[in-house]
Amino acid sequence: MDLKTAIFYFLATILVLASVRVITARNPVHAVLFLVLAFFTASGLWLLLQAEFLAISLVMVYVGAVMVLFLFVVMMLDINIARLRQGFWTYLPLGAAIGLLMLAEMALVLGGRYFWLEAMPEPAAPAAGYSNTKELGRLLFTDYVYPFELASVILLVAIIAAVMLTRRIRADKIHQNPREQIAVQRNDRIRIISMPSEKE
């Protein structure tokens, strides 16, 4: 077993253990932290496959942004564990049926035909000076230009949806308009009237 295989098994073991802990951890915050560990080790595996750009974007996008959002949500929701576990047995039949259906579907897609060792021969060793990022860019900006532009439209839809879903006008909002404050003239605030002086 050479060094590369050893590193692969080391990372794969951590990945599997962390993934199991994600769904078995009682505390949701711990589950999220185990998911972060799983993403880190997955990016290590991608580095072994020489997919450097994907590995770094996994860390940057998922660990840096998505998991931070998850952690915020989990920490800020007031989750009552006892109440969450209350309906476990009533929901179990439906949940188990859906889970088995999804398992069967995945088995149909992933089973035998496409993911055998014979069906997946080892790719040719890349030439010296091979850069995964450059290869990705070459494909993305020549053959897959249309999906690439579609990605920006999907991101645009996500921005608009997020803004519209969370937008609300607060009735109790107290605010100042600085422009109005600066533009105020003397005549807006005081009125000078002439009147005869009075004597006691």
Binding site: D2, L3, K4, I7, L47, Q50, F53, S57, M60, V61, G64, A65, V66, V68, L69, F72, V73, M75, M76, L77, D78, I79, S131, T133, K134, L136, G137, R138, L140, F141, T142, V145, F148, E149, A151, S152, V153, L155, L156, A158, I159, I160, A162, V163, M164, T166, R167, R168, K173, H175
Partner: protein, 126 residues
């Protein structure tokens, strides 16, 4: 095997980071005095009993900022492969302007989203 050697500095960096984080904790645990008792271990909130749980509902705008951050983070992620082959694209005859314009279209569509979010006040806190 050549490739793994390239990542040796990264490995050293990760190890130094782990040691730097763990060493103060271990040192404090080894060297510091520990004489706990019930009062010392109890939660302390300005001298009286804790009112409520630390977990509470949070303003939804906080998540809005986070979601917008994720979306523009993704946009930036698309720029890296483009930047790494930019010289190659502009030096080839057939792709000369195409490689430049396709990224402008991509950024332009997302600029619309940015303007929308700004105009709707999603970037203001209050």
């Amino acid at each position: 095997m050549i490739m793994l050697e390239n990542y040796f500095p990264v490995l050293v960096f990760v190890l130094v980071g782990i040691v730097f984080g763990c060493a103060p904790i271990v040192l404090g645990w080894l060297v510091g005095p520990r004489r706990p008792y019930a009062e010392k271990n109890s939660a302390y909130e300005c001298g009286f009993e804790a009112f409520e749980d630390a977990r509470m509902k949070f303003d939804v705008r906080y998540y809005l900022i986070a979601i917008i951050f994720i979306l523009f983070d993704l946009e930036i992620a698309f720029l890296f492969p483009w930047a790494s082959i930019f010289k190659e694209i502009v030096s080839s005859e057939s792709m000369k302007m195409f490689g430049f314009i396709e990224m402008l279209v991509f950024l332009g569509i997302l600029l619309l989203g940015f303007i929308f979010a700004w105009a709707k006040g999603a970037l203001d806190w209050e």
